[in-house]
């Protein structure tokens, strides 16, 4: 049972291009969507997050686009850099008060110089 799905599983882009990472979910009670980034050998770290009251959240080169009707969101990384190479996880949590995240399987991004 995969409540949060990510695509593609892996993505390779050239330096300077925009990387687009996709995420979809099933549970309409989800109301918070953080993205975590994991570099090899390190800890997952919060990158950016959005709530359904907004359809866009921007932080520097990172932008989340959110479509509540279709239960889809995407992370856009503009002007991709080799240092952005990592695994990106989309997550979701609901308003049930248990504060558990459901994570997607992740997208492994490689940025080639």
């Amino acid at each position: 049972q995969q409540q949060v799905r990510q695509s593609p599983q892996s993505l390779t882009v050239w330096e300077g291009e925009t990387a687009i990472l996709n995420c979809s979910y099933e549970d309409s009670t989800f109301d918070y969507f953080p993205w975590y980034r994991l570099f090899p050998g390190e800890s997952p770290a919060l990158l950016i997050a959005i709530r359904p009251v907004s359809n866009k959240k921007e932080d520097g080169r990172f932008t989340i686009f959110f479509n509540k009707r279709e239960k889809k969101l995407s992370l856009h990384i503009t002007d991709s850099q080799p240092g952005d190479s990592a695994t990106y996880f989309c997550a979701a949590s609901g308003n049930t008060g248990n504060y558990k995240y459901v994570f997607g399987a992740g997208t492994r991004l490689k940025v080639i110089a």
Binding site: Y32, Y99, K100
Partner: protein, 114 residues
């Protein structure tokens, strides 16, 4: 600096042996979580806790136990380790401020069961 510390960093265990993974947090967070990370599966929740003395089953609890003896410490116990439990295990703590709980993760424990 607030942090989540896991030990050991790497562990090799034999099939059928007992393994204990430890996690300590200095964030003063009520919630703590144990996830395993496997390629193609992402981060899957094993057990979690709302505070000292509490443990709850996550999505894949079979073969694992958890213990939360204090606010700071949360352990994951594999009573009879199996090769299928070879994975990277992440502990996290969470803050409920603002109605959601952003996690702080530890650096992970790489477990190999042979």
């Amino acid at each position: 600096e607030a942090a989540v510390t896991q030990s050991p960093r790497n562990k090799v265990a034999v099939t059928g042996g007992k393994v204990t993974l430890s996690c300590n947090q200095t964030n003063n967070h009520n919630n703590m979580y144990w996830y395993r990370q496997d390629t193609g599966h992402g981060l899957r929740l094993i057990h979690y806790s709302y505070g000292a003395g509490s443990t709850e089953k996550g999505d894949i609890p079979d073969g694992y136990k958890a213990s939360r003896p204090s606010q700071e410490n949360f352990s994951l116990i594999l009573e009879l380790a199996t090769p299928s439990q070879t994975s990277v295990y992440f502990c996290a703590s969470g803050d409920q401020t603002g109605g959601n709980s952003d996690y702080t993760f530890g650096s992970g424990t790489r477990l190999l069961v042979i």
